[in-house]
């Protein structure tokens, strides 16, 4: 069920055949009121997408935390692996010129 690049480690239930049918795991993303993008808030179990949204509403928006819910079954998420940290992110460390502060602009020029 779970692929080598899934978001979570293998569980005994995914390695061997699950004893019983557990409701699938869904990852929940909520968009708050103030124009921010959807943000991952946690996960939950539900039989289908409709119930996943209903459950997400009960579990993650009891205090007006959001105005929009996304759910996606956890097994559909592909994740980068911690061992790729070097090759993936190190190249950007040497490219300081990508940041505006790299360039000295004289005060006389004004705000830029």
């Amino acid at each position: 069920m779970s692929s080598p690049n899934s978001a979570y480690p293998e569980t005994p239930a995914t390695q061997t055949k699950a004893k019983r049918q557990e409701w699938p795991l869904w990852e929940v993303f909520i968009r708050g009121q103030h124009g921010m993008s959807h943000r991952h808030v946690g996960s939950l179990h539900a039989p289908d997408e409709e119930m996943a949204i209903k459950n997400a509403r009960d579990v993650y928006t009891r205090r007006n935390e959001g105005v929009s819910i996304w759910v996606v079954e956890a097994r559909h998420i592909a994740a980068s692996s911690p061992s790729e940290k070097g090759p993936l992110y190190e190249p950007s460390e040497s490219k300081v010129y990508r940041h505006p502060t790299f360039f000295d602009i004289p005060d006389e020029v004004g705000a830029m």
């Binding site: 569980t11 808030v41 946690g42 996960s43 289908d48 579990v59 009891r62 692996s81």
Partner: protein, 324 residues
């Protein structure tokens, strides 16, 4: 605490384990797919599982009073609080699941007694005043432990604790509000409030677990930053915070030895009866049997719903594929 006497596994001396400890010492967060010592993983599953189970079982003593709340408003508040406890359990279960254990496994381990929940929930809630005392004392003690856990080394655990702490303060304040109402009520109501404090004071102190001198599992867990303070530190802090609150209510903490100690800047207080604590952990508390029976019944009675909804979801999926 909500996780008491969590047995800590030992670490190993491999290069990976040493590098792992260095990451924790540097304040880095450990995430689900990062390498971690088997002992860290195992201890965390145990601790987060126990914590989650406590939230779930903790609904039972309070659920006991939902239908008998004195006003509609109190009933709505209590319902919201009990619903929060379910939510807290779910945040923690999904955190624990990122370590490679399934929800059903965790549930089964609670139901057959392999995993524990906090000793406090094996005490009965006999009167409405207990709803006040539980919110004030039990949630108050929980907050003492949960606030520092927001900085715990395991990312999903820390994030769950952030959400929980945001909600927990409502729980404690609604409890204290009930206590204020009763302590300022009729003599009979004040007597109920005092009685609730008398019965729940020592069980609340037990929530922090035995003294550090006897707690063999603390050291490794503290090194791993999955336990942030010693049991005695937190208990002291709780007593120092709670005694003035009891005084404000005009209630008496049921401890004749309780005395302010200027030198240490805190109260001296009596230890709870640890024999009683160990008996409760072993399953011999006043409500252990009842609590586990209620959880088992809920799981068994809900089976047809879980199976039925799964069958329905699968049928719909097949129909959808056929239609495409």
């Amino acid at each position: 605490m909500y996780a008491q006497m969590v047995k800590s596994e030992s670490t190993d001396e491999s290069a990976e384990a040493i590098a792992f400890q260095a990451r924790i010492d540097a304040g880095e967060k450990i995430e689900p797919k990062d390498w971690m010592p088997a002992g860290y993983r195992k201890t965390l599953i145990r601790q987060m599982g126990q914590h989650a189970h406590s939230e779930i079982v903790g609904q039972l003593p309070e659920g006991n009073w939902i239908t008998r709340a004195p006003t509609l408003e109190r009933k709505a508040i209590l319902l919201a609080k009990v619903q929060d406890e379910a939510g807290h359990g779910l945040y923690l279960y999904c955190g624990a699941e990122t370590l490679g254990v399934t929800r059903d496994e965790l549930t089964e381990m609670l139901l057959d007694g392999r995993m524990k929940y906090s000793s406090i929930f094996n005490y009965p809630t006999l009167t409405w005043a207990d709803m006040g005392a539980v919110g004030w004392l039990v949630d108050g003690a929980a907050i003492m432990n949960q606030v520092p856990l927001q900085r715990t080394s395991y990312g999903p655990y820390a994030r769950a604790m952030v959400r929980i702490c945001k909600e927990e303060s409502f729980h404690q304040r609604q409890g204290y509000d009930i206590m204020m109402k009763m302590a300022n009520g009729t003599p009979a109501q004040k007597k109920m409030a005092q009685d609730a404090l008398n019965r729940l004071w020592f069980p609340s102190l037990m929530m922090f677990g035995p003294s550090d001198a006897e707690s063999t599992h603390s050291e490794q867990s503290m090194k791993w930053k999955i336990k942030m303070n010693t049991n005695d530190e937190l208990r002291q802090k709780f007593v120092d915070q709670t005694v003035p609150q009891a005084e404000y209510l005009g209630l008496t903490v049921p401890d004749k030895t309780l005395k302010w100690n200027d030198e240490k800047g805190g109260y001296d207080f009596a230890e709870p009866n640890w024999d009683e604590f160990f008996e409760v952990l072993k399953g011999n508390g006043p409500c252990n049997t009842e609590r586990l029976a209620a959880r088992n019944k809920a799981w068994d009675d809900g089976k047809w719903v879980r199976d039925g909804m799964m069958a329905h979801a699968e049928k719909r999926k097949i129909r959808k594929v056929a239609a495409e």
